[in-house]
Symmetry: C2
Subunit: 272 residues, 2 copies
């Protein structure tokens, strides 16, 4: 089994991402924080780490971009996980027993409309979604939790309602990180982070290095950095690998404009 670190409790969405990506050949290692995931990978306590990088409703997780910049690790894969929330309760509970629903505040917020359809139900925030399911034993049959199908399985609980999320287009993109770079194959994606001199038109020049070589972007994001020498960081993902001469030339060209440039990794592109 391949040891893989993730942030959260057993049953967390990150653990589901680990199991989907490694096709059940992984032994997932729960970690308390994202820092702890990076540390476990760096110290080779595990072969890989899996971290969320962006969610289709909640945006990019800049903290993990910062950790990627601070550590000398490589992105070696990506995975998209559909976030399907379940309403979960003790095996003997019925929907009419439920008076309180507990989850991470984001889990509660993402099921807000469906929660309102349940009568006389109060909500209570707890630290994470899987942790909420773990608590159900102590809370009794009148409490339900919002979490993943996997969390219900891990803690032997009952799924009262599946697909409880208000918005079905709820996906989280995860990155797989490792101390060693990977051969990304023919259908590769590359992730970079860079900073530019704060001059008019500098971002347009930076993008032209890709457009002039017909390299397609799959992500672009500016991140304001207030109170730092750089005003902005830019995140770009594009189709292609650093093995490709066109990509090498584009990155050399980008180096002419950028005051900081870091290739975070080339890796096989996720297939929907």
């Amino acid at each position: 089994m391949i040891k893989v670190a993730f942030q959260g409790e057993p049953g967390a969405y990150s653990e589901a991402a680990v199991l989907e990506y490694f096709k059940n050949e992984a032994a997932p290692l729960p970690c308390e924080s994202f820092d702890a995931v990076f540390e476990a990978v760096e110290k080779q306590k595990v072969s890989y780490g899996v971290i969320p990088i962006e969610n289709s409703l909640a945006g990019s997780i800049h903290q993990n971009y910062d950790l990627l910049r601070q550590h000398n690790l490589h992105i070696v894969g990506e995975h998209f996980l559909r976030i399907q929330h379940c309403l979960i309760a003790l095996p003997e509970a019925g929907l009419s027993d439920i008076r309180k629903v507990i989850s991470h505040p984001q889990g509660l917020a993402q099921c807000d409309h469906n929660l309102r359809k349940l009568n006389h139900v109060k909500t209570e925030a707890v630290y994470d979604t899987a942790g909420a399911v773990k608590m159900l034993h102590d809370r009794g049959i009148s409490t339900a939790a919002i979490a993943s199908r996997r969390a219900a399985e891990v803690y032997h609980m009952q799924i009262l309602i599946e697909g409880f999320e208000d918005n079905k287009a709820n996906f989280t993109r995860f990155l797989v990180i490792s101390p060693e770079a990977v051969n990304p194959g023919n259908n590769a994606k590359t992730s970079i982070v860079f900073a530019l001199e704060n001059k008019p038109g500098s971002l347009f020049k930076a993008m032209s290095v890709f457009a002039l070589r017909d390299l397609d972007l799959t992500k672009i994001e500016s991140r304001p950095l207030i109170g730092t020498p750089w005003d902005y960081l830019f995140y770009i993902d594009f189709i292609g690998s650093t093995e490709d001469p066109r990509v090498k030339k584009a990155l050399d060209h980008l180096g002419e404009y950028s005051v900081m440039l870091r290739v975070l990794g080339s890796y096989p592109r996720y297939q929907f």
Copy 2:
């Protein structure tokens, strides 16, 4: 007094943004959800709403971009609020009394390193930062909360430690929304959202409409939309107002490439 809706409890960071932006001439109205803020503005129960749109650590709040697209309101202002977390307790508590710290999970996460420096302190997640301070009366002197200075004032509590956040470069950008557009003056910013045909180079063309007219971007972000006819939405903010003929021409030009284009508003730019 100007009635202004915000999401959260009295003492929330959004309320602090309202008071800073309107220079204490506002009567803030707490709302349960972002939807409720938009509804209060649309039904003219209030003159303005103030919503967070991006945080320097946690990224863009796509949910509020979705609400901006769904409602026919205008952005009329922006405000940057520095997020300074305080460790807050009952007036009679001392730092050595504290055994538990409660806050929104993001508040706890953003003070993680400083929390570890306190000995034998457990953490507990609650729904929001200001709500944590409100709970201190019932919890007694051994519990502290992480929240804003404003929350300590609202609930007559003591600030044990100010600047308790691990990362000082923690800012949230807020938008001010109204049913009526505003004259943005000479130093204006404009926010747009658009979708493109999924063709190679289409984003580069879209950006050229600004670069060719020397219009400076202050934000660009692609947002993947999985399972929709558009693959991506793009958010762009640029310097200039829709009153400026160059901006009109640029937006006309962008209209030639985009399959959806919405101007969310032109408004006075925030001065740091």
